[in-house]
Symmetry: C2
Subunit: 126 residues, 2 copies
DNA sequence: ATAATGTATATATCGGATATACACATTAAG
DNA sequence: CTTAATGTGTATATCCGATATATACATTAT
């Protein structure tokens, strides 16, 4: 568990933790059942409060990445890729809806939107 | 100029003013060269500070809807529909890019995105 | 000069976001 | 049962951006 936090970035600490652990899980470097560092332990390492690590773990739990058990610890959950996909799909749909609304207000046709989408989808490197 | 502000809405006052004046202009109820109420005048009517009306007018000016001249007043600019369209297009492109990024991370294919876009574009009432 | 207009600086207030201390509850191990 | 680990809950501190303001200043028209 190499979590690195940067005070300079302006990004909140708990967010940095969440993102990094999510990435580790999504990349398969942390697998189902793997134990995460205890909240206290991680807090010590990073020299931050337990409450901040708790907040990060809470978010990971809400998003279905891990599970915590009082007295035992926190563990990586079975990845529910389908669920994750569904959630992302909802967010994507919301974004597309907003974009479509804006477009309609300026009489920008659907075809133009489709073109743009095609370009940005193709052009963005992951 | 019937500007109506509602303290209950939670929406900031200056935003309410901006939106309502933009709408009046876009709907053609305010035309090129028309004088807006002076900042002080509008502030009196709405029982708010001049600074708040100024802030609203500043935003309208930034967005190219009006122009203000010290000592004279504020006036509706010639509508540059093309410019407005371009600006909206930039915002739309940014939204689509973000959506595309999210989609790629979940291996959601472009075709699925296109479908969704088609649905939300068609289905949203203006 | 006067009275209208817009402008600039410094300030108050509020609320959400972030991070915290400390006490409490649960579990596992001896 | 005691101990030491774990996660949890309540109440609090702090900071920062957003919002709105008062007051004084600058410009224009008459």
């Amino acid at each position: 568990m190499d979590i690195i936090i940067s005070n300079a970035s302006g990004e909140p600490i708990y967010t940095q933790i969440v993102t990094q652990i999510k990435t580790l899980i999504l990349e398969g470097k942390l697998k189902e059942g793997d134990a995460l560092p205890s909240m206290r332990n991680l807090a010590m390492q990073l020299r931050i409060s337990v409450i901040t690590t708790k907040r990060a773990y809470e978010e990971l739990e809400r998003d279905g990445f891990i599970e915590s058990y009082t007295g035992k610890g926190s563990f990586v959950k079975a990845q529910n890729k389908e669920l994750y996909r569904e959630e992302q799909l909802k967010k994507i749909e919301a974004m597309l809806t907003e974009a479509a609304d804006k477009a309609k207000r300026c009489s920008i046709p659907l075809s133009e939107l489709q073109e743009i989408l095609e370009i940005v989808y193709g052009g963005t490197e992951s």
